[in-house]
């Protein structure tokens, strides 16, 4: 790292002071210069006053994982000075607010310290505490524009787009940018040795977060009922769904809605609403996080046992209990796979970035209706809440929802008797009817023991016939959930296996390992149940590393339980401190293990 279009920088600020818009401005400007960029917002579970960081990585090669060190830190939060200055790589730079004397915590050998009087510049040019606080962020953005050589035309255009209709704000922001820019130009050698140079590598791409992407997937899938209870980091998903629906689903003449969003009293009710709506024939979903999944367990079992479609989008965060609500993890895998009491197994989809959040949310609705069962999209905070650079979303107008086996009145007229849970086709999926249909179509949904005709039973054989069918149905789904991504390198004896948002870091690690002569094969799990390719891949390597973001190696446990792979044949690399995975963690994990293996 640390060259033209290949570096990382970080802003350390106090939350609630308005730094988010300055950080977004910087990131978007770099993106519009055609340079691959990603941003990670590391924020507290708090509204105002606690430390927050924004980390921007620029990578001409398109790497998007969190970097393990940064080249420059803008340190504006005294409470984290010591910690922030420690993350600067040797030879890197520190920017601080020189309105006040240099804090002893910020002094460190081997780095260059740049003082810019952000506070004084704001006091001299702006009125009122609020404006001075907010615009200080724009001033530092201006200084970074000079230090990193951001195209000022791009910045000016963005400010005009954002504040074009508010001339006073536009003027203030222009001035703030200029103050920071001019000060840096006048006092330092600009640009710094690492800086930006326009490229053409972001064409056909967008910057979007996974929550917005999943919400858009729900709109395009034709979901009409959304039920939820607010929870970090899933909240924005339903808010985005609402925003899209208000844009696309409001009747122009009457102002009436072609959607229903219900903010429920708790996650239990949210699950109940989704299941009621799914039973009635709507595409319905809820967005939640780990604590919500815990609360929904009973209802999940009901939907499983009564063959009702339902989509759950779990934006995972650090557990257990309340855990760290604003930190990321992949620790709900087991609780999703086997959610609820009794014998239950569920379909899971694992998106690796916002684009897959969009695609897999659409798929989740198709799978839920085809298999008449709960389907979970296991996103996480890093994917859900951070802006990722991904390929633009495309849409095929030929798409039509897969509604699965539904008998309408005409179809019912042709059958002798409608038996709700009768497996006619041998795939474990029985045809359903929707409430409202007449004739023979009415049946009684019950969470209590039932036979294939949906009648109450306490008979062992009749009960087993139904749960055995559910097991067949689950097995049949293995070839319908998204298949794993598998890539081979010639002669590789090392396999890297992962899922979800770890993809970026593991791919980068694979490149670094190859540069050191360690060739790896790669498999990224995208769905559960696992298909036959997964078992085949796991069986063929000398060293198989399973990389995931939880303490207990949950993906490895799923391989062991579902495929019978011996635990000892899979070496876990676990990163569960709540921060997005780095390539370094993977490389170190692989090399440490290989070094300990007798030649």
């Amino acid at each position: 790292m640390s060259g033209i279009n290949d570096f990382a920088f970080k802003m350390g600020t106090v939350n609630g002071t308005g730094s988010a818009s300055a950080n977004a401005l910087l990131m978007q400007a770099i993106f519009r210069m055609g340079i691959p960029v990603t941003g990670k917002n590391i924020f507290p579970s708090n509204i105002q006053g606690l430390p927050t960081w924004y980390l921007i990585r620029v990578s001409k090669d398109g790497y998007t994982a969190r970097p393990s060190a940064v080249d420059l830190v803008v340190a504006l939060n005294p409470s984290t000075y010591a910690k922030d200055v420690a993350t600067v790589r040797p030879g890197g730079f520190l920017v601080y607010d020189s309105t006040w004397p240099l804090d002893p915590d910020l002094v460190r050998d081997g780095i260059t310290i740049l003082g810019i009087p952000f506070g004084r510049l704001c006091v001299e040019h702006f009125e009122g505490d609020r404006d001075r606080t907010l615009l200080r962020n724009i001033v530092y953005a201006g200084s970074l524009a000079a230090l990193l050589d951001i195209d000022m035309q791009v910045v000016e255009r963005m400010l005009t787009e954002k504040f074009g209709k508010k001339p006073k704000l536009l003027a203030a922001n222009h001035l703030a940018i200029k103050l920071g820019y001019d000060y840096a130009k006048a006092h330092f050698q600009c640009p710094l040795p690492f800086h930006l140079r326009s490229m053409d590598a972001t064409r056909g791409h967008i910057l979007i977060d996974g929550n917005a992407a999943a919400a858009l997937g729900a709109v395009y899938a034709g979901a009409t009922v959304g039920a939820w209870y607010p929870i970090t980091p899933a909240t924005a998903l339903m808010e985005q769904f609402k925003g899209f629906c208000e844009r696309f689903r409001v009747d122009k003449d009457t102002g009436l809605h072609r959607f229903a969003i219900i903010q429920a009293e708790d996650e239990l009710a949210a699950a109940g609403i989704v299941i009621g709506a799914g039973w009635a024939g709507a595409r319905a979903f809820t967005n939640t996080s780990g604590p919500g999944i815990s609360l929904m367990q009973e209802f999940i079992g009901l939907a499983y046992y009564t063959d009702i479609p339902a989509v759950f989008i779990d934006v995972q965060r650090c557990g257990p209990a309340t855990g760290m609500p604003t930190r990321t993890q992949q620790a709900d895998l087991l609780s999703l796979a086997y959610a609820s009491h009794g014998d239950t197994k569920h379909l899971l989809l694992f998106p690796s970035d916002p684009r897959e959040c969009f695609e897999m949310t659409v798929q989740a609705f198709d799978l839920a209706e085809r298999f008449q069962t709960p389907v979970f999209v296991a996103s996480d905070l890093d994917i859900g809440m951070n802006d990722w650079m991904v390929e633009r979303f495309d849409w095929d107008d030929a798409y039509r929802p897969d509604r699965g086996k539904v008998l309408d009145a005409a179809a019912l007229a042709k059958v002798q008797r409608f038996s709700r849970y009768l497996d006619v086709d041998g795939d474990g999926i029985a045809a359903r009817t929707l409430p409202g249909v007449g004739g023979k179509g009415a049946y009684f949904v019950r969470g209590s023991g039932h036979d294939k005709h949906a009648a109450y039973t306490e008979d062992s054989e009749a009960y087993q016939e139904v749960v055995d069918r559910l097991k067949r149905k689950f097995a049949h789904a293995a070839d319908h959930v998204p298949a794993p991504v598998i890539e081979h390198q010639p002669g590789a004896e090392v396999a890297l296996v992962t899922l979800g948002g770890c993809d970026a870091a593991v791919r980068e690690a694979a490149d670094q390992l190859r540069a050191e002569g360690i060739h790896t094969d790669y498999m990224r799990i995208r769905g559960f149940p696992f298909n036959a390719d997964v078992a085949r891949f796991l069986a063929r390597h000398e060293h198989t590393f399973v990389i995931e973001q939880n303490r207990d190696a949950q993906l490895r446990s799923l391989f062991a339980m579902e495929l019978g792979v011996l635990r000892d044949q899979m070496i876990p690399i676990l990163d569960y401190g709540g921060m997005p995975l780095t390539a370094k963690a993977v490389v170190d994990g692989v090399k440490t293990h290989l070094a300990g293996v007798p030649a």
């Binding site: 967008i206 229903a260 239990l268 107008d397 409202g436 009415a442």
Partner: protein, 351 residues
């Protein structure tokens, strides 16, 4: 068990309703409740009400949770769709179904355990949301299926079968519903079909959440001396505040000559509820006086029954959600998906 399965034969002389269906067509599976259970009388009243209203059976959905009361959805309207969900959570399932398909008639059956303990939150929020449904609370003050524990509606001093006295204050669903802004609040007695049937009909026709609390004695665990939810106690202490007659739109309205004050409430579909106050100065369209009346009866150890409060102008869930009149499940996909062109335009916002 209260009855044996009856063969589905129609007697030529059976009366039919507007759909040509007989009362038998509205019956369900054989009840498995104890002989003499109040719930079976409520079931019979529901059969009567649905038949008289000429509800299309397949356009009705019977919703319930868990418990003796919740089992009864299997015992009426066998041609209707039914959903026996999880304990205390029928209101959310019904909310979802009603959100998805507003074209069906939702009949929820619950009990005092299902509604006032495990499901108190869900009941409360379904009332707040004003889901368009009939919500029958078959109230016997006891957990029957688990053999006789007190429920949250048991009165202070009421004794269990083993003689133990309840010391915790009861939750009165009628007062709760009035407080939460329910738009239709009634109480009746399973043993009083004359009162119950018109209330059920009005509750089904009401647009919004219609709570009908029905004192429905448990013959096995709460019908002894010392119980305040027994047949004997209820008969003795019931005070009907308002008698409701339900008059559907289709029929000619003929009012029997009487010098009693009648209050007519017009329902959204044009049908009418004619209320005859039997308590002096009782105004069933005034929430405050309804509340005061129920409290006053309570202090005299009386049980206020009748259609206690009705507000036909309240907004229901779909009004709040501003949803289109067409049920969401009937909207064609083309009206839901913005399509490729919109996607291309949208993507520019993320540059």
């Amino acid at each position: 068990m209260t009855s044996i399965a009856k063969p589905p034969v129609k007697h030529p002389s059976s009366r039919t309703n507007a759909l040509g269906l007989t009362l038998r067509d509205y019956e369900g599976a054989m009840s498995t409740l104890c002989a003499g259970c109040g719930h079976d009388s409520v079931t019979a009243a529901l059969v009567q009400a649905a038949w008289e209203l000429a509800l299309e059976p397949h356009r009705a959905a019977k919703m319930s949770g868990i418990g003796c009361s919740s089992k009864t959805t299997a015992y009426f309207m066998k041609q209707s769709h039914g959903f026996n969900s999880v304990h205390g959570r029928m209101p959310s399932v019904t909310s979802g179904a009603a959100a998805a398909n507003r074209g069906l008639t939702y009949i929820g059956i619950s009990g005092d355990g299902d509604s006032l303990s495990i499901g108190l939150g869900q009941l409360s929020h379904a009332i707040r949301r004003n889901v368009n449904m009939l919500y029958v609370l078959e109230n016997n003050g006891v957990y029957g299926l688990t053999k006789g524990q007190f429920s949250a509606s048991a009165d202070i001093g009421s004794t269990s079968k083993k003689g133990e006295a309840n010391e915790q204050a009861p939750i009165d669903p009628v007062l709760l519903a009035l407080t939460l802004g329910a738009t239709f609040v009634a109480r009746s007695f399973s043993g009083d079909k004359r009162q119950l049937v018109p209330i059920l009909k009005a509750g089904i026709a009401h647009r919004g959440f219609a709570l009908v609390d029905v004192i429905s004695p448990c013959v096995s665990f709460n019908d002894h001396e010392g119980s305040t939810k027994s047949y004997a106690y209820t008969r003795e202490h019931e005070v009907e505040a308002v008698h409701a007659d339900f008059v559907p739109l289709q029929r000619e309205i003929t009012v029997p000559a009487t010098d009693e004050v009648l209050r007519v409430v017009e329902l959204h579909d044009g049908a009418q509820v004619r209320l005859r106050a039997t308590a002096k100065d009782y105004d069933p369209t005034d929430r405050e006086s309804a509340y005061a009346h129920v409290r006053a009866c309570q202090s005299r150890h009386e049980i206020a029954t009748g259609l206690l409060f009705v507000d036909e102008d309240g907004k229901d869930m779909h009004d709040h959600l501003r949803t289109v009149p067409t049920p969401l499940v009937d909207l064609p996909y083309e009206q839901l998906c913005p399509g490729k062109a919109a996607m291309e335009k949208l993507m520019e916002r993320y540059r």
